[in-house]
């Protein structure tokens, strides 16, 4: 095996839920993640953005097999060997899991209130036994220092910490197993402005220091830009745009991405724009609009031949510029150069 292989190679991954299934009622299928493909290099971070319900968390959870995928493959290259993580079982799964960790939005809900911080951090070592018992305490202290917490916090319980501190504990726990990849699901969304900045810096430093790969899920396009090398925009289960952060923020190519960017309030009153937020709200994912899911709100497909095409034909994720993909029939026409300077 060579290093040329990406850490993560996600191929046509889908996850559906069946809703409202009763005795004689087959229920309805909700495609929370719909044919998602991307790769992630070692040490690279992918930002996943999109509005509530578009499938970001489901994607993260399916990648880690917290949900079983409905179809598709997740090929992981770890310790020089590539394997399909979406099907392995037993001890192999347990070993692989160690390398993939998750950090959640709500730091309170993800820490057991009856355990001290020391016990919370000891748990992963106890489960995976990857470190000799005599070394564990030193490792725990090292983790505390790495995430910027004092050692005397080890004997306290989660409730005595602020939200930001709890999130640091959650990050320390994820680091305990020396993962290659961490899925961060809205890790700073619940935090105050100053604490959010602190945790973003911490995440950035950890990534550099440890060569980690991140999947950074967020609806905050500015926070995503700070962390991510590449961006994936999701809408109703599908990736609608995938590009390097630089290329994306300089020239987004999907009308939905454009809408997200122009809706973002910018902390500069001089840039109060006469903006055009997209019409309406996100449609139900149970019966998503035909063709391009975005056609019901898209300013480029309001009438005539365009509307006909956009409502009739599912656009493919096409490479519009070098390594810049968009799922829009008219992506070539979309330009937004004014977004570059803020």
């Amino acid at each position: 095996m060579t290093n040329a292989q990406p850490l993560l190679d996600v191929q046509h991954l889908s996850k559906s839920f069946v809703i409202g299934k009763k005795l004689l009622d087959e229920g309805q299928t909700l495609r929370a993640v719909d044919d998602v493909s991307f790769t992630l290099e070692r040490g690279e971070s992918l930002g996943v953005v999109g509005e509530s319900g578009c499938g970001k968390s489901t994607l993260g959870r399916t990648l880690l097999r917290l949900y079983e995928p409905t179809s598709g493959r997740v090929v992981l290259a770890i310790d020089g060997a590539a394997s399909d993580f979406s099907t392995i079982k037993g001890e192999a799964l347990k070993q692989m899991r160690r390398k993939l960790q998750m950090v959640f939005q709500d730091p309170s809900a993800s820490l057991n209130p009856r355990m001290t911080i020391r016990d919370i951090l000891r748990e992963p070592f106890a489960i995976h036994r990857h470190v000799p018992a005599a070394e564990i305490e030193a490792r725990i202290r090292g983790l505390m220092a790495e995430v910027g917490l004092r050692e005397d916090a080890l004997d306290r319980f989660p409730h005595s910490f602020s939200g930001g501190q709890k999130q640091r504990i959650g990050i320390a726990r994820a680091l305990a197993l020396e993962p290659d990849l961490i899925v961060l699901d809205e890790p700073v969304s619940a935090l105050d402005v100053s604490i959010r900045g602190q945790v973003l810096n911490l995440l950035k430093d950890l990534q550099r220091g440890r060569g980690l790969s991140y999947i950074f899920i967020s609806h905050d396009l500015a926070a995503v830009q700070y962390i991510a090398d590449r961006i994936a925009v999701m809408y109703l289960g599908r990736i609608v745009e995938l590009a390097s952060a630089q290329s994306f923020y300089a020239a987004p190519r999907h009308p939905y991405a454009l809408a997200l960017l122009s809706a973002l309030p910018v902390p500069n009153p001089k840039l109060r724009r006469g903006r055009q937020p997209p019409r309406g709200t996100i449609p139900s994912p149970i019966n998503p609009p035909s063709g391009c899911h975005f056609h019901t709100r898209c300013p480029f497909a309001t009438a005539g031949a365009r509307l006909h095409r956009c409502s009739g034909e599912v656009p493919q994720l096409r490479e519009i510029a070098s390594k810049h993909w968009a799922r829009c029939h008219f992506a070539e026409e979309i330009q937004q150069s004014s977004l570059a300077v803020r």
Binding site: D192, G197, A222, Y226, P267, L271, L339
Partner: protein
């Protein structure tokens, strides 16, 4: 006119212009774990037809300040002092802080002259009644409009907040609507009585950005149209820049900086304001963030001196004494000793 007279004349005009004037408001809660100083000497002025944004991190006393204005604080364990002068429609200036909360006068103001909207629309909406019933009830409580006229007004209100097919929507229940629609309905209810002051407590915090943009646009348009004053509470400096005419930055129950929105972003002056702005990632910027150290302390702790001192990089010996709100010559107020010698008057 001499300078002094000009200042006096400007002050007089300013006085006419002020709808709400909060002075030295203090609100504390007696709890089993100690005395919570939620609001600790807040001064605020809201001018007619303007939006004052109140910004700060969670727990700084933003919501409690707004609730004080409506007499909506818990009655049991609350200790409150200071004055809240409100210019009523009748022309008289009332001190809301001293009105009996359940008294007739307070009820004639709350919901009628001053209305409030919240982050969570279900705070104001009842799940068991239709949207139409709830708007009609608001009209019945706060206006003389009745019958067919009331129904027409309800439809007009829904139209005003951008709800399509308002007539049929009257029959919908809140749970049949999206979060953004519910927010619109709540705004419609708040506006039923044509209030002169709208208190908006993080009204878009729970919404997606595209829906937030729609609601912000709506609120700006309605303010222009109706000429009401708005107090817009938020922790999002982007929303402040979009919405505010004036801004009050609040920290641990005190206003630490007050400025016009342009001044605030062009010349952020208090170390807390500057720290907040330096904590923010921005699109197009690549520099490393320099966030404020530490976190907002527990409001039960007794603090002497500047409330921000333990997080402040510019702290000096003098900061052990509480700084006054210093009025800078160009019309920006800042509560920080660093600006002591630049200041005009102190309060």
């Amino acid at each position: 006119m001499g300078t002094m007279e000009m200042v006096a004349a400007a002050d007089g005009r300013e006085q006419d212009d002020i709808l709400l004037h909060i002075e030295n408001l203090k609100v504390g809660f007696q709890t089993t774990s100690g005395f919570v100083r939620a609001v600790d000497g807040v001064d605020l002025k809201v001018r007619r037809g303007r939006t004052l944004a109140v910004v700060g991190e969670s727990g700084c006393g933003k919501s409690i300040t707004a609730r004080s204005v409506l007499g909506l604080l818990p009655e049991q364990n609350t200790v409150m002092s200071g004055s809240i002068a409100f210019k009523s429609r009748t022309g008289e200036v009332l001190d809301i802080a001293s009105l009996p909360r359940r008294g007739k006068r307070m009820r004639s103001i709350r919901g009628a002259e001053i209305a409030m909207i919240f982050q969570e629309p279900m705070t104001s909406l009842t799940p068991v009644f239709t949207v139409g019933d709830q708007i009609l009830e608001a009209l019945r409580l706060h206006t003389p409009v009745r019958g067919a006229q009331a129904l027409a007004r309800a439809i007009e209100l829904l139209e005003m907040v951008g709800i399509p097919e308002p007539e049929s929507r009257l029959k919908a229940y809140p749970h049949q609507m999206s979060g953004g629609m519910r927010q619109r309905v709540m705004i419609a209810m708040a506006l039923a009585s044509n209030p002169s002051l709208l208190l908006a407590d993080e009204p878009t915090t729970a919404l997606d950005v595209t829906v937030q943009a729609q609601i912000l646009d709506l609120m700006r348009g309605l303010q222009d149209e109706l000429g009401m004053s708005v107090v817009f509470i938020t922790h999002d400096l982007g929303v402040v820049a979009e919405m505010a005419h004036e801004v009050a930055v609040i920290y641990l129950g005190q206003v630490v900086e007050y400025a016009s929105v342009d001044d605030l972003f062009e010349r952020p002056t208090h170390p807390y304001t500057r720290g907040l702005l330096n904590s923010l990632p921005r699109i197009g910027a690549t520099e490393r963030l320099v966030p404020i150290a530490g976190s907002v302390p527990d409001p039960r702790e007794h603090r002497v001196g500047c409330r921000f001192a333990d997080r402040c990089a510019s702290r000096m010996a003098k900061c052990d004494t509480p700084p006054p709100l210093i009025k800078l010559p160009h019309g920006q107020d800042v509560r920080c000793w660093l600006h002591e010698n630049e200041g005009g008057t102190q309060s």
